[in-house]
Symmetry: D2
């Protein structure tokens, strides 16, 4: 064929195949117009707006901001127009229904500088409930006691262990921080145990029925720790103050677990008990009570599944933003796209949802700057 | 410069820089020798052996097999030569110390065909303890009641929900399976609650001390479910039979959680309680009692952290194999390399450890074929 | 709500939604049946067969093997029954049409131990054409001159540079290897230049028309290097011997480029020229001539796109297997799924295609063991 | 052990291991201080500054901006103080040495809205040379002829092919765009061929020596296409106008290749030739001539390796920023960290370098807003 001078029809038909007329509602790909006056050192909202027609994850990021703005601005009926049994979920200061927002985050985000951003959201009541992994609870407390430091992903583990420096990605936590944490928490655990025992004595067999004050749960212990830490830099402090529950079904899976384990020796034969059944009732009830439910899920694993599962109880969330680096090819829940959750009834088919494929630390500061923190909070 | 005819020294010095003599212990990269007689339709062990000098994840996979063979073949002292307080951990049939192997897996692996492989390991007592996510518990039971099916990653969620088909990666679970699960488990939960209440009545205040039979924990409930399912295809059945504890601190985070939630309404005002403190004591105690500890962690999230954290209690595991698709760049625990765990004291500095970057379903069949299942089991 | 004893219908309707009857053609998820006699130290084909119903990437891997077996076993008409202009593409030894298989691989695979596997395929004429990146050409040659060694992903770059050790993933190439390569290749480049100049003198203006022997192309130079290296361990040697073209449009992007660059100084003002237009004609013509076209693409980047683009010339490949770790979320061609190539006409809509999400080194040994090397080659 | 009341020393020693005093130069992890006045709808530079101590990729992103600011602000000696043979590389308007910046990008970025950002950098002479993949050349031209549209990652390929809509991630390119491109480019290729032939006639044998006007190279053809497109929205237009070379060794690997292929039939027996050897000399010479060399590499594959390889000619770049989603575990060059390039002499050991693990579209708008576009350009 190499000698032939005739353009082969097979190739030209395939390459030059005609397309249908472009539908009118098609959106052109466009980027930043740098001839605009505001196109220098751009503000978050302008950047996000420009990214909406850029494609790839830029447009997903922009969509995430839209969805977050949708979920936080939605208002339904006024409380006064509702039957009493309908007066559930969240209401704004003027009495209108608003979205119940479930936010989930993994431990490492609290270790990172995102803690200040997460704290900001809780401080200003911008979310309704939180699901965190155990480290996402304890590292918030520990940071009140001593700082976490910048490190490097490649620092060799043996040298770090010899120095008592624990690595989390490119961060370092001196092990002394955990010693301080132990000193701080043991007296609190003593007191919790004491209260458990006293309530049991007081209530007798009734101490064990649902809702009894003798039953500690992860969320109840976390609330107590938030009260005790009493520091405005803390997420838990503001969650306690603003009555925003923090759920953590596997609260024993971290340093708090180590301390609870140690405490079983100190308390023996008594033991503080943490019941996880009461907490599943609590989070599921919040989901069912919500007028609309929104999910902002930062990271994968338990915290992602737990919020989604709670939203199944209402036949699906109305808004969903996932941000994580998981991939679906291994069938993991961490990597599952919002569309997978639709198959389960965890997100409504008509919900607005998006997944941003990114390290949360890379995009959440920009997202919050363009949404929750796009204007000064009023409270 | 383009007209010059002289080879520039800057470039040639950089490109042709001399290297030091190659150290004698350097291992040449080599692949499969296809001229060998066994180089056709190769057996697992031969493949794995050839992969050891291939580089990239091929050599990591081979290393994982070596480590697994190391952990399962290690033998220490005979029981009779040990003081009584030293007689802890695992022993082989002849009385010699052996490795306590902690295996962790995520829910999706039980949904996949790997369940048979995991069941095989438990059936033949090849592992000592398991940490699973909630789905890793319930899907094993549900599969006894009804099958899971092959699907596709791209099936649209809305259509699936309309049909009551739940998607897990490229698998499908008919929602009826969960209805069958509900029918099966509710009478069992009724009975567990009854036992809790009876034990409390019998024991009075003593019913609440550590180790009381009135206290249910996730691992205790899982063991009971394994007994009740009574089916040889089940991981839980064999775990019960072989006294291999299955830990799942967040047992409420899945369909079992839905059922426990529903049960709180049926049981009200009574409530089955699941205490997670007793379980953290149990797993940590196993870690401390072990002569040697090995970790085989399939997937990321809670199950990975939980086993590592337990091994911190003994100042580090002696063997560690991670298989997952997580990356370290986002600072997630899921993506953390074994060397990160060394900084925390969760893996010993001198331990043999490796991470294989892969979907578990892709490599674990080969790994097991070349290690645990390289010869017929004797029991 | 927490006091209520009535199971909420909202939740139970959502959780216990009924599913449609399972269609009869649904395939149950199943794993390895370890009670079978062949279930120990399994052979490649048995493993792959078991993986077909395991889900996730296990089933994709199994599908990849099926597709490869399909493409290599397909036979069309006998040559004698075809018009002369239809007698294009590949034929088996008995004269029947067979699939033209385009195999692509990235440089690192030749650096790894997979080189022996790739060489095996070329040696036994199991593929029809190759597209490689520049390193995929030169490292094959260099390995004849001196070995590559096992290293580690975490070896610090500065220390390695000081020692003249170049790192590729967890492999090391002593820089002396490149010095040896320079010594070997310079006389060959001298000769190629000489031939170019002689042909030009001989042919005059006709020396520059399409197909002239005075025009060197990447594929022609690669073929020559394969002839010169004259070593049975080499992919290029067998490609030369078996007339399997190796395409590498960016041949200057690697050590060969360094040598060609150096050579411009030595040869000045003459210069060896490498024309890439003649090569695009050559590969596209192969694609159009093929009776059926199959693609086996190992890795991403140029080599993936180049084969796909060639298959557009025939309105799509008939079989496609991608193996790589790229993801689609960043809009990269590397991460694009086969279905994206269908939109372009690079894969036929009715073709059999699959992507396996994996490091090639992890799965290709198993794939080849279960397909191309499942029985002894006859030639 | 479960009955024991004594805290085991093994566990407490491991958990409560003391750490060394924290070195004074350790940097605390910190996030955004939302009490600041500028902490609402933040500007790019403020966001980036806050991210520097956040950890994970947030701090890598901040570091990338620092390095870019470093490379663009560096100034060396004044031209007048240099010997003539030292007067190479880039100089600012006042005659001081500045960094030669090599920017690489993959095709998809030009398809995305980032094209405007990349064009801005070229328009304002903020980079010195570009390496692009073939699509990164042609899509820039095609966008002048007709737009690209927003689509979706999950649109099925068959339906798209039927409509003549080509998918790139979540973007769509109507196939008519390529027909328009063909109409536009064929007359230009005719003219290039004509010029090649005329120059050969004019120069005779001298037409083939290095640097002859009879020899077309990829970069020369790209420059010509930039001149011909003559549109201010085009990267190629500005590159031509500002004499910024665009290198693309595999220029045939895309639609331009299709057109060149078609053209071989139209031109037969003549043929436009594209020599890649002259281009490797050109880019390597730029690297050697540079006073300082900086790399900004957006994506992986050929464009990454090609810039790194050119910088080997000067024994390493002085600044390097990689942004991509590749991972090192598969030994790919795409996933190799900057430290790997140090082992090869492609980045200097003392250089400032960073890799940001992200889809470029997600972070490059923010990076440019905080660096190159942090103030109005003066030219």
């Amino acid at each position: 064929m190499s000698g032939s001078g005739k353009l082969p029809g097979l190739a030209s038909d395939a390459v030059l195949k005609q397309s249908i007329p472009v539908p009118e509602d098609f959106q052109e790909v466009k980027g930043i117009d740098y001839s605009q006056d505001n196109a220098y050192n751009m503000r978050a909202k302008d950047l996000i707006k420009s990214m909406s027609t850029m494609g790839f994850q830029a447009s997903s990021l922009s969509q995430a901001c839209d969805i977050i703005d949708n979920m936080r601005s939605w208002r339904g009926k006024h409380k006064d127009t509702l039957e009493e049994h309908e007066q559930t979920g969240e209401f704004d200061d003027e009495g209108y229904q608003k979205t119940t927002i479930f936010m989930g985050y993994t431990s490492n985000l609290i270790s990172s500088g995102l803690r200040d951003t997460l704290r900001y959201l809780v401080q200003h009541k911008m979310v309704s409930a939180i699901v965190a992994s155990a480290g996402g609870v304890e590292e918030d407390l520990i940071k009140v006691l001593a700082p976490t430091y910048m490190g490097d992903f490649t620092l060799p583990g043996k040298g770090l262990r010899d120095q008592g420096m624990n690595r989390i990605g490119n961060l370092l936590v001196p092990n002394d921080n955990y010693c301080k944490f132990e000193e701080w928490i043991v007296p609190i655990l003593d007191k919790c145990l004491e209260e458990q025992e006293e309530a049991m004595k007081k209530l007798g067999p009734k101490g064990l029925i649902a809702g009894s004050e003798a039953i500690w749960t992860p969320s109840k212990l976390i609330d107590r720790l938030g009260k005790e830490i009493n520091d405005e830099s803390s997420v838990l402090y503001w969650a306690h103050k603003n009555k925003i529950p923090i759920f953590c079904p596997a609260l024993t899976d971290g340093s708090i677990g180590d301390m609870l384990f140690f405490h079983t020796f100190k308390a023996s034969p008594q033991q503080l008990r943490l019941d996880i059944v009461a907490d599943i009732r609590k989070i599921n009830s919040m989901s069912m009570a919500a007028s609309k439910a929104g999910m902002i899920i930062l990271g994968g694993g338990l915290i992602k599944h737990h919020i989604c599962n709670a939203c199944l109880m209402r036949n699906g969330a109305d808004y969903a933003v996932y941000i994580n680096t998981g991939q679906e090819f291994d069938g993991s829940d961490a990597g599952a796209r919002p569309d997978e959750a639709i198959s389960w009834g965890k997100i409504k088919a008509e919900a607005k949802s998006v997944k941003v494929y990114a390290d949360v630390s890379l995009v959440f500061p920009l997202i919050v700057a363009a949404t929750f923190a796009s204007e000064k909070p009023q409270n």
